[in-house]
Amino acid sequence: MQITHLKLENWRNFLHVDVPLKKRMFLVGPNASGKSNLLDVFRFLRDIADDQGGFQSAVQTRKGVSKLRSLHARRYSNIVIDVAMEIDGKSWTYRLEFTQDNNRRAIVKKETVAANGRCLLDRPNEQDNQDPELLTQTHLEQIQANKDFREVVDFFKKIRYLHIIPQLIRDTDRSSGKQWSPYGGDFLEQLVRTQEKTLKSRLRRIVAALKVAVPNLKELELNRDDRGTPHLRGLFSHWRPDAGWQLEDQFSDGTLRLLGLLWGFLDGAAPLLLEEPELSLHYAVVRHIPGILARLSRRTGRQILLSSHSAELLSDPGIDANEVLLLKPTREDTRVTVAANEIEIGRLLEGGMSIADAVLPWTAPPIVQQLTLFGDAP
């Protein structure tokens, strides 16, 4: 199950994107180049297909079509998302073009689905022409209309995005009532929702992995307090028996982030979107993230798309230049290219440089030294 190709037009920073996607992709670019916006395409599709979501909701949570459309969009200003996928051995394509009407409502201009090259949906169709109101919804969100391509709908629904913010895991009050919070707000609730046998097995595997980064950690367990709020307890080695139990609010940021990441890796088989997984982690741990992802991908077939600024993470010799998407801001938009297609990067790699050494200088701001002058008197 994987997304094999992505085409975009007029989506946020991007006037035009046309890139193949591998099982493991690293998105590399300067700050504010649009790495999160690129990942947001997949979240957008997930939000449309989600039972609690839909097209209008997905657009509204992003503040409307005008916020989604590239500021540099030309006369043909429809926003276009076109993805190709492999699902259970079948090739699928899904294309959505949309804009807004005079009332600023999002309107589908075109929606097509094809399986193995055979067209299963082509909108607007006769029904849409008779009742244009139908174009305020996609067929992804209509059970009666998407019977022929339910696999695609289910695939989108399962896409997971993870950008754990440790403070949100600790602040259980703030995150109560949330479901599938991408920032880890309902992380502990997600654990509670997991079947006990699966939960225990996963926690065991996570503790074994966490021990590498946090050697004092002996055990992890999940329980609820008197108010029913779930808590994660960790037993850390201490010379007094039972003295080393700590609740999640005492865990370090790095422990919580790594814990969340490891859980995310084990939870589900659909594409996983990660934002800067290196945050708060020791460089020696970060270096092994690509290796974990490669093994995971080989074992479960799971696709992982992640953004990163980390030289440690990108220094893994197993990373191929075809697995790196380079985001380069220009005056008008951000261009996205596969690093292997950049001749100069290819030459540097042939000359023995690592991906990190060859690619990261492309993403550095041109006058970054000026930042050091910030401390000077005006």
């Binding site: 001749i343 100069e344 030459r347 540097l348 790699l349 042939e350 000359g351 023995g352 440089m353 050494d357 060859a358 200088p361 492309w362 550095a364 041109p366 030294q369």
Partner: protein, 105 residues
């Protein structure tokens, strides 16, 4: 400035400013700047920069120090295990570009 951007490889941050100033003086746009952590790191990657120079213009700044009597000799020494084709050309530079820059500031 309609010329091709010139990519740059230097030993450290202070050399980057020097390289930018040189290119500005020559009215050439600066491309990607590869700042290495010292001379040894730069030397290790010279082969790769030389390879890339087959495709685009590059400027590599390296202190001569006492590693060789002159720039061409240093260049031969640095690329001694590399390919037979050199895409970079060596130019005579002062033994220590940092000093040169300070003197000309």
């Amino acid at each position: 400035m309609n010329s091709l951007p010139v990519n740059v490889a230097v030993e450290g941050n202070s050399d980057e400013a020097l390289a930018r100033a040189l290119l500005r003086e020559c009215e050439l746009p600066t491309g990607v700047v590869y700042v290495q952590k010292g001379k040894d790191n730069l030397d290790k990657k010279l082969k790769a920069f030389n390879q890339a120079a087959n495709h685009a213009p590059w400027l590599v700044l390296r202190d001569l120090d006492r590693d060789a009597a002159c720039a061409p000799e240093l260049w031969r020494y640095c690329l001694r295990n590399g390919p037979h084709t050199w895409f970079c050309e060596s130019r005579f530079t002062p033994p220590n570009p940092g000093c040169w820059r300070t003197e000309n500031a």
